[in-house]
């Protein structure tokens, strides 16, 4: 075991794993601040989501009498999934904390686990909003699978591996001719990012109109500590997707550059949210089919 109680690689691995839940509220706060500035408002400070989580943890909870143990357990499982996803990302070093979960199919189906439980929690309370949110969420997820899988598949075929750590490692060594397929796959991944994280044009994360909600509708009944867990889990998922989008498709050059890339992508999301409208629900499948076709085009171009 060598020097000290904990080996260095494990220590760095734990550190980079803790970075994900630590930084995610900051990313959400930054996106909200940029949106506020673009809308000519001052906006809340970028540390506001931390204060909000702290506030939620120190509030009492109200649970519906119709809810069962599924409602009570779902936030822990959803949060746990985002922690496991955070453990697959290599930040400082190549070795992530849980490399076994780094296969991109494992990642996609772990996300499926969190979506499943969140949808069940929405149905558990028997409210029309939760049910509607669950129905829309499962519909959108079913259609997003195609674009998400094909965009990640493009990178996998280019780097000849399905493990994301190895993909990131081999990305700088790829031939320049792979740039175009990877760029097209990046666009498809961005659509999948917006769909999975329920951002514009799929869902408005700041809406208070229950009939237009998707993600917010499923967590409408939650309060107190469970709501804190779910809000934090959503932030974790956003930073995870932003990180994947920047490191899997664009070769990295150190930690600072990577963080700047994440900030740029987050700013892009904020810009999109400030300049476009949410699409009507039945227009969304068109966007997702197009994203899937972009993914297929990327795979075909790569094979040529």
């Amino acid at each position: 075991m060598g020097d000290g109680v904990i080996p260095m690689s494990l220590f760095i691995g734990i550190l980079q794993w803790l970075l994900v839940p630590a930084l995610s509220p900051l990313v959400v706060g930054t996106v909200r601040k940029i949106k506020a500035r673009l809308q000519n408002r001052q906006g809340a400070p970028i540390w506001q989501p931390y204060r909000q989580l702290w506030k939620l943890w120190h509030k009492d909870e109200v649970i519906s009498t119709d809810a069962s143990w599924i409602f009570r357990a779902a936030p822990y499982i959803v949060f746990g999934v985002t922690l496991v996803l955070g453990a697959t990302i290599p930040v400082f070093q190549q070795e992530a904390l849980l490399p076994a979960a780094g296969d991109f199919l494992v990642i996609i189906y772990l996300l499926s686990l969190s979506t499943f439980w969140l949808a069940l929690a929405g149905l558990d309370v028997g409210s029309p909003f939760g049910g509607l949110g669950a129905s829309r969420e499962m519909t959108m997820t079913a259609l997003t699978e195609g674009s998400l899988l094909f965009s990640l598949l493009t990178v996998a075929l280019a780097t000849k591996t399905t493990h994301i750590s190895t993909m990131i490692e081999r990305l700088p060594d790829l031939a320049p001719v792979t740039f175009i397929p990877l760029f097209i796959a990046f666009i498809a991944f961005c659509v999948a990012l917006l769909a999975e994280n329920k951002r514009y044009p799929f869902d408005n994360p700041a809406t208070h109109l229950e009939l237009t909600m998707i993600h917010e509708a499923m967590i409408l009944e939650y309060s107190g500590k469970r709501l804190a867990l779910l809000e934090w889990a959503a932030a974790n998922k956003l930073i995870f997707f932003l990180w994947l989008g920047t490191t899997l498709f664009w070769p990295s050059a150190g930690l600072v550059i990577a963080l700047i890339k994440v900030a740029v992508l987050a700013a892009g999301v904020a810009l999109l949210e400030s300049s476009s409208a949410k699409l009507r629900y039945f227009r969304l499948p068109d966007v997702l089919w197009m994203a899937w076709l972009l993914g297929v085009a990327a795979v075909v171009l790569l094979a040529l």
């Binding site: 109200v62 009498t65 309370v125 669950a134 499962m138």
Partner: protein, 678 residues
């Protein structure tokens, strides 16, 4: 050296099941006695089959037995190799668990239907399943195949006073004999080509079979065994027959009987036929993609819980065919190492589907007997009344959706990896087929998750929507016990896939042409294609549990002073009624609208007005939402019409005129004389 003596076990199995059938029949009026006796013998027979399979699989020795009969062409021939042993273990386990489940499930039929006939056919059905897997001669195979079809027919129509069940049974009867016709034609072709009815001679003659004959055999096998397996468009009997049968029979049929079709397809494609052209594999791949996607789309439209599960059987057979298709393509391309990955994925998914589908049907059976209805719209809130059933049903839902860390994910991972391997080839037609297959598998996974959120959520969650659901009681001990075993298997087979793959490699050793170059199995790690992909589920499972624990501990510490109060669900202040909840029809409505081109959904609104002239105030409004049955509309009805038209034309021979009949005899005699002298 075998673990146990296989002949001894086989004798126990057959004698037990035979005595069981006979005893059940003799106890004609006594339901309880027949139930006890039949269940005991079926359990002993199934256990003997499991031990037989385990013995052959562990020792690797092939067991053969043959005896001639008084009929010239019929030989009773048995052969148990590692593939048959694998299927014997699966069938034996499911049959044993179904028997245990039936101990309390069948009590609801006491006094209503005759259980002695049920147990008679049940023992024969289970015995025929074992005999089909171990058959080694064509005519004997057809004999036991027919016994299997007939006994399952009588089990499907067990609740024979319902019209729907009898119609379902008739459809099943017709389709299974269509399958038998194609299978008989296949055997006739093979007999004509090799001159023997023995399977060993088919394997030996495989190398010299001309491509045209081999293709004919392949297509006949695909049509015949595909009908049994439930491949689209030959699946039309499945969604009617599985709901009509009692739950333990649905589980046996869906989990095990349709797999006999897959078993024989594997034998035909990889043992009896030479290395064929690539289009064979492409056809199987495309059929698999079609079946999986359409199966799950039709399942989404269902609100009868057992029909939903039946359509998911179609979907999972499609996934198994995807693995088989990729295996066939790689065999044709001369890459047997890559073919093994697809084949192992198909075998793994066969086993997984048997387990989680049986679990789901057991849960559905418990719910149907507790509430008295199969309509999901009348369920609701059952998780509070039937907590164990709900918990195990949830495990089944997670497993069938392919969610980490259950067994469905492990087999789908293997099939995905085999499909990814196909993208590296040079033929654009092949690459296109693989891309379509990957897309089909990806979308199927997402749609299946949506369907099972609906199935579990609408059945068990929220508030009860009918009086029957308010009064439902938990299932009895044996039912819960059998479900718990299956749920544990779902988790175990998902968390330790490397151990399963080691066993499957042994099973696949029956085809020596498949080498393990593309697959490396280490403790807790499966590596495909020299590091292209690696699967290690145990660390993921441990990590997940640890992450959930970390979240729980952290929350417990930070929020330790906060309390939890109970209140009513927020409904904008309006009264909470069961009508406020999401219904099964509404949940999947948006997906059906999005896929309406494929599903051909229709919506009809009928309004009855108070005053027919004014048509202003409506008295009642009826909305009917249906899916057009495109198979009966475009395939089966036109085929039936063609058949009737042809027979109508043939009827012209019967003119009723005696002189015409004499003319027929005269012409035939002349023709025969000419032919005999020529």
């Amino acid at each position: 050296m075998m673990l146990f003596e296989v002949p001894f076990l086989l004798v126990i199995m057959l004698v037990s099941l035979g005595l069981g059938a006979l005893g059940a029949l003799l106890a004609w009026q006594k339901d309880e006695l027949a139930h006890l006796w039949g269940s005991l013998t079926a359990a002993i027979g199934s256990a003997a089959a499991i031990l037989t399979g385990a013995s052959v699989l562990s020792s690797g020795e092939v067991f053969s037995w043959e005896a001639p009969t008084s009929f010239l062409l019929l030989h009773l021939a048995l052969k148990i190799d590692t593939l048959a042993a694998f299927f014997l273990i699966i069938i034996g386990t499911i049959a044993l668990l179904a028997t245990i489940y039936g101990v309390s499930y069948l009590r609801q039929f006491y006094g209503h239907y005759r259980l002695s006939s049920f147990l008679f056919f049940y023992n024969i059905f289970v015995g025929s399943l074992f005999l089909v897997i171990t058959a080694e001669q064509a005519l004997y195979f057809l004999l036991v195949w027919e016994i299997m079809s007939l006994s399952s027919y009588f089990l499907v129509i067990f609740e024979h006073r319902e019209d729907a069940n009898r119609r379902a049974g008739l459809k099943y009867f017709v389709m299974t004999h269509v399958a038998t016709t194609f299978i008989s034609l296949m055997f006739l072709t093979l007999y004509a080509a090799t001159g023997s009815l023995r399977f060993a001679d088919f394997t030996a003659g495989a190398a010299v079979l001309p491509v045209g004959v081999a293709s004919v055999v392949f297509l006949l096998a695909l049509l015949g065994f595909g009908t049994k397996a439930g491949v689209i468009p030959l699946h039309i009997w499945l969604p009617d027959a599985h709901p009509a049968a009692p739950a333990s029979i649905s589980a046996l049929m869906s989990g095990v009987m349709i797999k006999t079709g897959i078993f024989m397809l594997l034998r035909v494609c990889f043992e009896w036929l030479p290395i064929g052209p690539v289009w064979w594999g492409v056809v199987v791949l495309m059929l698999g993609a079609l079946s999986s996607l359409l199966g799950v789309l039709y399942a989404l439209a269902e609100h009868d819980i057992k029909r939903l599960l039946a359509y998911h059987s179609v979907e999972n057979i499609g996934i198994i065919l995807l693995g088989m298709g990729s295996g066939l393509i790689f065999v044709s391309l001369g890459q047997p190492a890559l073919a093994l990955v697809g084949l192992l994925g198909a075998l793994y998914h066969t086993m997984n589907h048997a387990i989680f589908k049986t679990l789901l049907f057991f849960g559905a059976g418990a719910v149907v007997s507790a509430t008295g209805t199969k309509n999901m719209e009348e369920y609701g809130g059952l998780i509070k009344r039937m907590p164990y059933t709900a918990g195990f049903f949830l495990v089944g839902c997670l497993a069938i959706s392919g969610i980490v860390p259950f067994n469905g994910f492990a087999s789908e991972w293997l099939i995905f990896q085999s499909l990814f391997a196909g993208l590296g080839g040079s033929s654009s037609l092949l690459q296109g087929s693989f891309i379509l297959a990957i897309a089909a598998l990806a979308f199927t996974g997402g749609l299946a998750a949506a369907c099972f959120v609906k199935a579990f959520g609408v059945t068990f969650l929220a508030r009860p929507r009918s009086v029957a659901s308010e009064r439902a009681v938990e299932a009895k001990g044996p039912m819960v016990a059998s479900m718990s075993v299956l749920a544990a298997l779902c988790l175990a087979l998902g968390v330790w896939p490397s151990r399963v793959v080691v066993v499957l490699q042994r099973v696949a050793s029956v085809w020596p042409q498949f080498t393990s170059d593309a697959l490396a199995v280490a403790p807790n790690m499966i590596t495909v294609r020299e590091g292209f992909g690696g699967l290690s589920m145990w660390p993921v499972f441990v990590g997940l549990v640890a992450a959930v624990a970390v979240g729980a501990v952290m929350t417990g510490i930070v929020s330790r002073r906060q309390r939890v109060r109970l209140g009513a669900t927020w409904n904008c202040g309006t009264p909470l009624t069961p009508r406020m909840e999401m219904s099964a029809t509404a949940f999947s409505r948006s997906l059906i609208i999005m896929w309406r081109g494929v599903l051909r959904s229709t919506k009809q609104t009928e309004v009855e007005y108070l005053d027919a002239q004014m048509r202003y105030f409506a008295r009642s409004r009826t909305v009917t939402m249906e899916l057009l049955n495109i198979y009966s509309h475009f395939l089966y009805r036109p085929a039936a019409r063609l058949l009737f038209r042809l027979s109508h034309q043939t009827k012209r021979i019967q003119s009723g005129n005696v002189n015409m009949y004499l003319l027929y005899i005269f012409v035939t005699l002349c023709a025969l004389l000419l032919w005999a002298t020529a």
